[in-house]
């Protein structure tokens, strides 16, 4: 025993191979992701879609109190700068008409005054941005389910597409798509008030969406029209929203 001839070196080769695998994967991951971004989005959807779909069906109901309202609320996104929007804003949105059409029995247009005459809902909730920040605000507006009851979606309607007055970061109209299930949630509203004042231009005037189980970028600001659709594959690049198309975000974002 004392004259053990040679000690085993069996660990070196497997370790070297393991480190080579780590090194290769490390080196390849970033360039491959940049080149095949859409594939990464697709594979990611395949791998995690079931989990996000599951948590999207949870009923988010957290509401906070007046003292929780944040003194600051991060602005984000690309501001609208079309002549049409500026004319509407200059007039205090008196000429604004929210168009709701698509797969509905009665397409409608609503003025801001008409929206304000509808049942009003107020809620103090946390805004979760995909980037990591949060902010609490008191939102006031029309429940989306009330709008749906007015326009009466046809049985084929499955999604609501929200078009914005603003463009996305790489040009083209900003939009995002939501399931009707989410749109019927009791905390989903078209907000025209933020912290007891009209929603500012910075935060989405005249109307922005609140949908409390999703991340912020899905709550379209500066809403110009809502279209009910059966499928979103033929809208934009077909991923269900501007950032889903252009920045490879997830369509479902309860996480």
């Amino acid at each position: 025993m004392a004259e053990e001839t040679e000690k085993s070196r069996a660990g070196y080769l497997p370790f070297a191979l393991a480190m080579a695998a780590v090194g290769t994967a490390w080196w390849a991951a970033s360039p491959l992701t940049v080149r095949h971004a859409r594939k990464v989005q697709k594979i990611g959807t395949f791998m995690t879609g079931w989990l996000t779909a599951l948590s999207e069906w949870w009923d988010p109901n957290a509401q906070l109190t007046e003292k929780d309202i944040s003194p600051f609320f991060w602005p984000n996104g690309t501001m609208p700068h079309s002549a049409e929007y500026e004319a509407l804003a200059a007039n205090g949105f008196a000429d604004y008409r929210l168009r709701v059409n698509g797969l509905v029995e009665t397409p409608r247009e609503f003025s801001l005054a008409e929206l304000k005459a509808m049942p009003k809902q107020q809620q103090i909730t946390t805004h979760f941005c995909i980037q990591g920040w949060t902010g609490v605000a008191k939102w006031g507006g029309v429940p989306m389910r009330h709008i749906l009851d007015l326009v009466k979606p046809t049985p084929e309607a499955r999604y609501a597409a929200f078009y914005s007055f603003a463009e996305g970061s790489d040009g083209g109209t900003y939009y995002d798509v939501h399931t009707l299930h989410n749109m019927r949630h009791h905390l989903t509203i078209l907000a025209y008030e933020m912290n007891n004042a009209g929603v500012s231009i910075l935060h989405g005037a005249p109307l922005r969406l609140r949908c409390e189980n999703e991340l912020g970028f899905k709550m379209v600001k500066w809403i110009s029209a809502i279209e009910l659709v059966h499928d979103y594959a033929d809208l934009g690049a077909g991923q269900g929203g501007y950032n889903e198309d252009h920045e490879f975000f997830s369509y479902r974002n309860p996480i």
């Binding site: 085993s8 069996a10 660990g11 070196y12 497997p14 780590v22 994967a25 490390w26 991951a29 970033s30 992701t33 940049v34 080149r35 971004a37 594979i43 990611g44 791998m47 995690t48 989990l51 999207e56 949870w58 988010p60 109901n61 957290a62 944040s70 991060w74 602005p75 984000n76 996104g77 168009r99 698509g102 797969l103 909730t125 946390t126 979760f128 980037q131 990591g132 920040w133 949060t134 609490v136 046809t154 597409a161 083209g172 109209t173 910075l202 409390e212 189980n213 110009s224 029209a225 059966h230 499928d231 033929d234 934009g236 690049a237 501007y242 198309d245 490879f248 997830s250 309860p254 996480i255």
Partner: protein
């Protein structure tokens, strides 16, 4: 043709896509809202010329009171601490008290059970998979952090109230959006390493997380199905004085006896236990608690441990890994590389 009504953007790819487009799945064929024509097609890859221009951040800083301190201070502080610890440890080992302490607590808790089944194949593979998967999780996690390079203990995220940042103070004389705040990471560090690639980083983070958590869950089952858990879980109070003894011996640069084939020393056991059974579950829990659906569902807990607390704790637990991983690798190399690699990569003594 319905395709015309969609007014797809021009260009050969768009035209080809239009020509190949499947008929609409809905039986009701309606023209889209006119605004649908203003939607644009998008590339299937990241095109730098269409992407947010790069922006450098700053060396990470920590706020104590009203002052910000660069984390670069950790370098001289770390150096002085190590040198000081070596001197102190060597001093202790010269005292009668120190000698008696180390004689009584040699480093390995004598009451700790010995595990005689070696390092089985499943354990070696799971250890490798764990480290392999963690590289992606860490890189994409840092990429996500870089999209809002500030950490807070409050829910409001008011500029100036953060306790950690690697970005300059928020400018007050101009509109500064959260997107403006994102910083660029080098592509070898961040995954994918371009500014504001949080969408792609999240796919990596969540997809690989699922694999990592699955590997971890299977490891837990395997550990407790066999006797391997006894290596990691402290089973006697003696572990603590033995861990102190191990620390003194390592710091004195006169290393303790190594019996890691059958039993880890106190410091090893505590640090491995912390990594496997404290830091990893903390990571999973605080990761999930940053989700709007989950946080909004947790009621009181979701309000108390709101997203910014969860995000900060997630980062602090990551800090443990940042400390543990280099320390672990260093110790593997300097406490007998051949034997250590034999154990974990070949299952041999």
């Amino acid at each position: 043709m319905n395709d015309q009504l969609h007014a797809a953007p021009s260009g050969p790819i768009a035209r080809l896509k239009g020509a190949l487009a499947k008929p609409p799945p809905s039986p009701t064929v309606l023209p889209h809202d006119p605004l649908a024509a203003t939607l644009t097609h998008a590339d299937d890859r990241v095109r730098i010329s269409h992407w947010l221009p790069p922006q450098a951040g700053v060396v990470p800083e920590i706020r104590i009171g009203k002052r910000w301190y660069s984390t670069l201070w950790l370098v001289p502080i770390g150096f002085v601490t190590v040198v000081g610890a070596i001197a102190v440890a060597q001093g202790i080992r010269e005292t009668a008290w120190g000698k008696a302490f180390i004689a009584r607590y040699p480093g390995i808790a004598q009451k700790a059970p010995s595990v005689d089944s070696g390092f089985p194949l499943w354990l070696r593979w799971q250890h490798f998979l764990n480290l392999f998967l963690m590289t992606f999780v860490i890189r994409s996690g840092v990429q996500i952090l870089a999209d809002h390079p500030r950490l807070y203990w409050n829910r409001d995220c008011t500029p100036g109230t953060e306790w950690f940042r690697f970005q300059r103070p928020v400018p007050r004389d101009r509109l500064w959006t959260a997107k403006d705040d994102a910083v660029t990471l080098p592509s070898w560090l961040g995954l994918p390493g371009l500014r504001h690639t949080i969408g792609l980083a999240r796919w990596w983070h969540f997809s690989v997380d699922l694999l990592w958590v699955t590997n971890g869950a299977v490891s837990y089952v395997n550990l407790f199905r066999t006797d391997q858990w006894k290596r990691l879980v402290p089973l006697t109070w003696e572990v603590f004085p033995n861990a102190a003894s191990t620390a003194i011996q390592y710091a004195s640069l006169n290393f303790p006896i190594d019996e890691s084939w059958t039993r880890y020393n106190g410091l090893q056991q505590l640090s491995y236990f912390t990594t496997v059974f404290v830091a990893a579950p903390t990571m999973v829990a605080t990761g999930l608690m940053q989700s709007p659906a989950i946080s909004n569902k947790l009621g009181f807990l979701g309000r108390l441990m709101h997203r910014q607390v969860a995000r900060s704790v997630h980062f602090l637990a990551f800090g443990w890994y940042l400390f543990f991983i280099p320390a672990h690798i260093t110790m593997v190399f300097i406490t007998g590389l051949r034997a250590n690699l034999n154990h974990m990569f070949a299952g041999r003594e």
